[in-house]
């Protein structure tokens, strides 16, 4: 299983029955593949649909039904169309149970930076700032390091997405929970040692006695 699949499968286990979940574009969108239909989860795409389904068969795509990345999707039974004001009203108003977002950095306070690398890459925050402010649970799904640089850092050097502490960070090496006390290492990926995780992390990690091996969906 490759790193992205591992992360997506682990995040999928965080999703409970009947939740309303928003998946960011890229890696987070893979999570949907590993959520069993029996959970009756509704996926929201912030561009305007609750009840996002799989990509339709070739030739049956519709240009008026896409996800937030512009990819063709379908609508499950019980889906609802919403405009952007309602979409972000749901997000900001606390009606979204969970969002899964990519990250550039997460720091010891659990703060996320994921929208700008000054002077290099300025895509814009899109819906990320509202999602981090508003979702009941925020899960960051990202590679543990990028080009040899740790992404779990003491303090974000990149512009923050929000001051809010995220709830969980899932990487290809570990599951980490930001808490009042700091970043707590909860799980290690199969075949990855705690020492390897610590070595790949700039932020200080609180290492408990009961670190489990990641169980994936």
């Amino acid at each position: 299983m490759d790193a992205k699949e591992l992360i997506a499968r682990r995040v999928a286990r965080e999703i409970g029955p009947g939740m309303l979940v928003n998946l960011g574009i890229g890696l987070p969108s893979l999570v949907a593949n590993y959520v069993p239909a029996s959970l009756a989860v509704f996926f929201q795409a912030e561009n305007g649909v609750i009840g996002l389904g799989a990509r339709p068969p070739e030739g049956m795509e519709d240009p008026h039904l896409t996800d937030a990345g512009g990819g063709f999707v379908s609508a499950v039974p019980g889906a609802a169309s919403i405009d952007s004001a309602m979409s972000f009203g749901l997000i900001r108003g606390g009606h979204l149970d969970m969002t899964v977002l990519g990250g550039l950095q997460v720091d010891e306070q659990g703060q996320l930076a994921n929208w700008k690398v000054p002077g290099m890459m300025v895509p814009g925050m899109g819906g990320a700032m509202d999602l981090v402010i508003g979702a009941a649970r925020v899960i960051v799904a990202m590679q543990h390091s990028a080009r040899g640089e740790a992404k779990l850092v003491r303090e974000c050097t990149l512009p923050l997405t929000a001051r809010r502490r995220v709830n969980l960070v899932v990487t290809d090496l570990a599951v980490i929970e930001p808490t009042d006390a700091g970043l707590v290492l909860r799980e290690h990926a199969p075949g990855v040692s705690v020492a390897e995780i610590v070595a790949a992390t700039d932020a200080r990690l609180i290492i408990g006695d009961d670190i489990q091996e990641m169980i994936v969906a």
Binding site: P17, G18, A40, G78, M86, G89, I133
Partner: protein, 228 residues
């Protein structure tokens, strides 16, 4: 998430004395009447009611007023209900009068996580008293605070068991906004249809906002029995 439908009696039991309740409707059009009847029958007391108006005696919110169930109202109009006026004047009900457009925006703000409403409505009138005025580019606006409630009791046209709601004509009014602002949302639809029957573009309240549906009126909550 599929939602089973409750009888009005079971739904009313969820609402304790002293609760704050938003109730949809405009002069009792678009008001969940069976839900209100059940609350009256239960003898609920001391409610704070947020609603556009207090309807008239014998209809909608007016039935709660007549039953002595209401101790406080946040509303825009009580002019067609002499009982509410009398109870306000004798001090049994405290009434906060709010301009209608401000009231619906305060509810929306509460439901959508906004800090308040900046409106020109009410500036220089009694409505301004005690409120913060915020200047934006040299123009003055009243800061009106968001509203939320323990319960929103709303009426709808069609529902499905996901909780999606559609509304009919002037029975929309406050219902779609109140569906956002109640901690528990109970919807009384005119009809419940199978999931997938309401077109996505007709859904005005997504099911994620709705906690409970009231059973259909005409079957008394008993599903048809398959005989053959």
């Amino acid at each position: 998430m599929m939602k089973g439908a409750l009888s009005p009696e079971a739904a009313a039991k969820l609402v304790p004395d002293g609760a704050s309740v938003m109730i949809g409707g405009f002069m009792a059009v678009g008001t969940p009447e069976r839900m209100i009847d059940a609350l009256v029958a239960q003898g609920v007391r001391n409610l704070t009611v947020v609603s556009n108006d207090s309807a008239m005696p014998g209809r909608g919110v007016g039935k709660l007023v007549s039953a002595g169930a209401v101790s406080r109202m946040i509303t825009s109009h009580i002019g067609l209900n002499p009982e509410t006026q009398a109870l306000m004047i004798d001090g049994s009900i405290s009434v906060e009068l709010v301009p209608q457009g401000t009231l619906v925006e305060r509810i929306r703000a509460g439901g959508m996580g906004l800090g308040g409403v900046l409106t020109p409505t009410g500036l220089g009138t009694e409505v301004e008293e005690g409120k913060q005025v915020v200047e934006v580019d040299g123009e003055r606006f009243l800061l009106e605070k968001p509203l939320k409630a323990d319960f929103s009791l709303i009426a709808a046209w069609q529902a499905d068991y996901v909780g999606n709601l559609s509304y009919l004509l002037t029975a929309h009014n406050f219902n779609p906004m109140m569906a956002l602002a109640g901690r528990t949302v109970i919807a009384e639809p005119n009809a419940i249809v199978p999931v997938g029957v309401i077109p996505p573009d007709m859904v005005k309240t997504p099911g994620v906002l709705v906690d409970h549906l009231l059973v259909r009126a005409n079957t008394g909550g008993q599903p048809w029995t398959q005989k053959n």
